[in-house]
């Protein structure tokens, strides 16, 4: 956190953040389900400046076969950044960061997917970051969960993710790129809104015990906002509801 030095004002005296948002206000979120022809399920999300595509295949046969599980299906997940998604061209080979994020996203989705219904099969979730902004792992999770539902995979609950963080000594919702660079803490959280369980939580940065508790609760409020957008995207896909 906080590597570069700039003159940016992260939070002004009226409680307005550097991009004009209020403390508890998320960035613009737009989700569209069913955007790909070949994938069994798919979703496209724009979350702030994040532009992310998620596609799901399965349940299908596992290759190589020895990875298959006789009593439940397995979930695989790949979070991958396009070379043009960030400021300086990124090598397309998966970095250690992308491998770790793939793993935490998989473990955040897994509690919601009824894998016990699909022994010996795999569900593959492929996430492609077309343009990256702060909070890309939460946005990726949000798209992936919608793509799973779009693929008709039975789920116990939706998974909705949003970060909170600490900026100018204040706990705020949904950290953007500048706040991530200049701020004091970033805490991505994923939540199953009906089951009431947090399936992803990470923290970079320093929080007092009181701030920690407030930060978790702030993030959960964000997850609930995201949940509404996810539901709307699925309704539009399956029932043609317009806004």
């Amino acid at each position: 956190m906080g590597v570069k030095k700039t003159d940016i004002v992260l939070l002004d005296d009226k409680g307005i953040r550097c991009d004009g948002r209020k403390i508890n206000e998320p960035r613009r979120i737009m989700i569209k389900a069913g955007v790909l022809k070949n994938a069994n399920g798919s979703a496209y999300i724009e979350f702030g400046e994040n532009k992310i595509l998620a596609g799901v295949f399965g349940p299908r046969d596992v290759h190589p076969k020895h990875l298959a599980n006789t009593d439940r299906g397995i979930l695989r997940c790949r979070y991958h950044m396009q070379p043009f998604s960030v400021g300086e061209r990124k090598n397309p080979a998966p970095s250690r960061r992308e491998i770790e994020i793939s793993k935490v996203i998989k473990e955040a989705l897994e509690p919601a997917v009824m894998l016990e219904n699909f022994p010996r099969t795999v569900v593959d979730v492929f996430i492609e970051i077309l343009q990256a902004d702060g909070g890309s792992r939460c946005a990726a999770l949000d798209a992936a969960a919608v793509a799973l539902a779009d693929a008709g995979i039975p789920m116990r609950d939706m998974v909705s993710a949003c970060a909170a963080g600490k900026v100018a000594d204040t706990i705020v919702l949904d950290i953007n790129n500048e706040e991530d660079q200049e701020g004091q803490a970033d805490m991505p959280v994923a939540y199953m809104p009906n089951l009431g369980k947090v399936t992803l939580i990470q923290l970079d940065g320093v929080l007092s015990p009181q701030e920690y508790e407030k930060c978790v609760n702030t993030a959960l409020e964000g997850c609930k906002i995201v949940y509404e957008v996810q539901k709307k995207a699925l309704q539009e896909k399956f029932f043609g509801d317009s806004q």
Partner: protein
């Protein structure tokens, strides 16, 4: 590779039967490409970008422009590198991992078609001879597969480059600095267009879709420039062309390419 399903067999027979009557599965004329939709500027953080949909094949392309060291012995020109990747969400058969020979050929053919046309005048991209040049890195990511990635990636690349903005750089004492907010258009000399044709039996068809791609005997990609000349060819597939067919393909490529060139130029301006 091994197993041909009954459905695949039926499709193949249908394609052959229709072609005997001069028809294609999706109703197109033999020399008619699919609908082409081009959106530029879809990745605002990249210096150039485009999403191309050719029938149900979709490609997202982004251009990064960065100062770089020139290649040895090529100190008087900028760097131009074009890649292609089939994302695993594009096709149930695609898998993450290092590219196979198909994808390597795809990337090299797309790169070569644009490079050999001289589309971008690389000599205008030198910051300091032998020391520092501008690099143009064009990455194509296939997001939906329905055959003929050669043309889809080529069109996405050309549209991205046409719509691209080159930042201004200053070079002094071995240090390159970017001048914020100043951009120029890339130095374009021509607009190359690739046209890929498949051979099924004795028929030459333009822009094969995935079902046609799976049962064609051979293919050829011919790239033409704005002057109506041929600037790159790649034959593929497990059969051959007669010399007469090669001449015929050249003519189809020039005629079809001219129409697509207009669309690319229009998209690049928008």
């Amino acid at each position: 590779m091994t197993t041909t399903t009954i459905l695949d067999d039926l499709k193949k027979k249908k394609i052959h039967a229709l072609l005997k009557e001069g028809q294609r599965v999706d109703g197109r004329a033999l020399d008619e490409p699919r609908q082409l939709i081009i959106d530029t500027g879809v990745i605002p953080k990249a210096e150039g970008s485009a999403r191309v949909r050719l029938g149900d094949t979709e490609v997202v392309c982004g251009v990064k422009v960065q100062p770089d060291k020139p290649f040895p012995d090529l100190g008087d020109r900028g760097i131009f590198i074009c890649t292609a990747e089939i994302l695993p969400l594009a096709d149930p058969a695609a898998e993450p991992g290092p590219p196979g020979e198909e994808v390597i050929e795809l990337a090299r053919v797309v790169d070569r078609g644009i490079r050999e046309s001289g589309m971008v005048d690389l000599k205008q991209l030198v910051l300091e001879k032998d020391k520092s040049v501008v690099g143009i890195f064009i990455d194509n990511s296939v997001t939906d597969y329905d055959g003929n990635l050669f043309d889809a990636c080529s069109y996405a690349s050309v549209a991205s480059v046409l719509s691209c903005k080159i930042p201004k750089y200053n070079y002094a004492d071995g240090v390159v600095t970017k001048v914020e907010g100043e951009f120029t258009a890339p130095p374009i000399t021509t607009v190359p267009v690739s046209v890929t044709m498949g051979k099924i039996g004795n028929n030459i068809i333009v822009d094969p879709n995935a079902d046609e791609w799976a049962c064609m005997d051979a293919r050829i990609t011919i790239t033409t420039n704005e002057a109506g000349n041929i600037c790159a060819i790649q034959k593929g597939g497990n059969n051959g062309f007669t010399p007469e067919e090669l001449v015929q393909c050249g003519k189809i490529s020039i005629a079809t390419g001219a129409k697509i060139r207009d669309m690319l130029k229009k998209a690049g301006r928008s």
